[in-house]
Symmetry: C2
Subunit: 252 residues, 2 copies
DNA sequence: CGGAACATTGAGAGGGATCAATGGACGTGG
DNA sequence: CCACGTCCATTGATCCCTCTCAATGTTCCG
């Protein structure tokens, strides 16, 4: 397994197939994601320090892991391009998708305080990420304070996000879950300049199902049903929302 | 509604029925929970500063809220005695129990970084809590550093806890959920000196169901089934675990 | 072109929800 | 101290949503 070998070589960050490391070709100040990403929280002056803490940019091939359960924490990761899923694995081997992550979002927080990752992040398509080294960020006193504040904020958001998923998993029916999923996805995409009504799913039906606590067939059936009701226009991975209001109704 | 009136008066912490405030009668150094509670993370020297930050102890009557969704964050709360549940409420009014909390556990972290609570904590029986004021804790530099470290740790644990619930809600069958619930509960109780095989449930079947994503009748039926199989001996709220191994098997 | 991975759809089964009735525990007030 | 009401738990009967199993279709890529 090329993947495994790759994974085990970290945290040295060797240049290897599917896991290219190179010096920063783009500073945060020029990055397309700067308005959504962590650096947006810093002022122009502090940005220099942030830029220095962002040591390298990496490209991750589709299907590869950014980090895995049990690995030592070495950095936070900001998604530059591409799409990730995070999964947790139960003691008996079943695993569950706990989130999907797009450009500008920060991965790896779960390892930040325990120095060890407790989930696995896998690229759903070829992706680029920035590695943010907390140690270096905290060299500057003012930046450190600002950084900590935003790590708190990110963790707080993560807890709230998970609570809303718990609510979804505990109380919603299949249609509601899928509708909530689509609404959330399209909202985040729209914040990044994408259409409010059209999206391309980067994940399989199985992955959506795992995230929503449903079987892949059920996810497929719900798509078909919402299609037949004129709420959606689904063509495999391409989804068009025809009736925004109705979709919001479903998600209640 | 006495409850509502009470709630609205906070955070002034008036003395009122069911919500008694009084000066610390017991220091952390002498508290029965000190080995499980947050203060256990500090050395003897720092403990003085912690004790000062624990401004008041309060008693909370059964059914009363410690804090509610949307309320400003004023302090962290350490459970001294009694039992709490935390609930989140969805936009359409449905709510879900997100956790049960016993002596020594810290409540209110969800409001720590956003300065506002995003869930509600309700006492399941008459309870006592300690209010920990972060502002005062952070007066001392060394204590502040130590405190921050442990807040990170607590939040990390909270994220992991929620992920395991997501796994439960997403993939487990009713019996597995109930078994996992009991195992977790008895483990935490045992860490506090209680029996490894006997426990008294402080919550209703409905609350267990909400936590596990099941209806109360289903919870009741699972208890009955495990009873008939000789795994448990259930007498309403009193549960005896007759076959520890089998229960662990169920929770897989 | 062929194979692998993924999606769709159908038929049938089953687990949990729902509806409903009963019973026990507890607290309050007569 | 008992009667009563309330809250909670148990159990049964039935329904239905989702899972499971299975076959077919589509897309993508070597």
């Amino acid at each position: 397994m090329d993947d495994l070998e790759l994974i085990e070589r970290r945290p040295q960050f060797d240049i290897a197939k599917g896991f290219q490391v190179h010096a920063s070709p783009v500073g945060c100040a020029n990055c397309m994601q700067r308005t959504h990403c962590l650096p947006s929280k810093f002022n122009a002056q502090e940005l220099g320090a942030v830029d220095e803490a962002v040591e390298v940019r990496k490209t991750i091939k589709r299907g590869m892991s950014l980090f895995r359960n049990g690995e030592p924490f070495v950095a936070l990761y900001a998604v530059r391009t591409g799409f990730f899923k995070t999964i947790v694995t139960s003691s008996d081997g079943r695993d569950q998708v706990t989130g999907f992550h797009m450009a500008g979002e920060i991965l790896g927080l779960d390892g930040f305080m325990s120095d060890q990752h407790h989930c696995e992040a896998i690229a759903l398509e070829d992706a680029e990420i920035c590695m943010i080294s907390p140690a270096q960020l905290e060299a500057d006193q003012a930046v450190a304070r600002q950084f900590q504040k935003h790590v708190y904020h990110l963790m707080s958001s993560e807890i709230m996000r998970e609570q809303s998923i718990m609510l979804l998993l505990g109380h919603m029916r299949a249609e509601e879950r899928v509708a909530a999923f689509l609404n959330n996805l399209v909202k985040r995409l729209h914040a990044r300049g994408y259409s409010r009504s059209e999206l391309v799913l980067r994940m399989t039906r199985d992955e959506i199902g795992s995230y929503l606590g449903l079987k892949l067939e059920t996810v497929s059936r719900v798509f078909s049903k919402l299609c037949s009701e004129g709420v959606l226009d689904v063509n495999v991975r391409k989804v068009r929302i025809l009736n925004q209001g109705a979709l919001l109704q479903y998600a209640s």
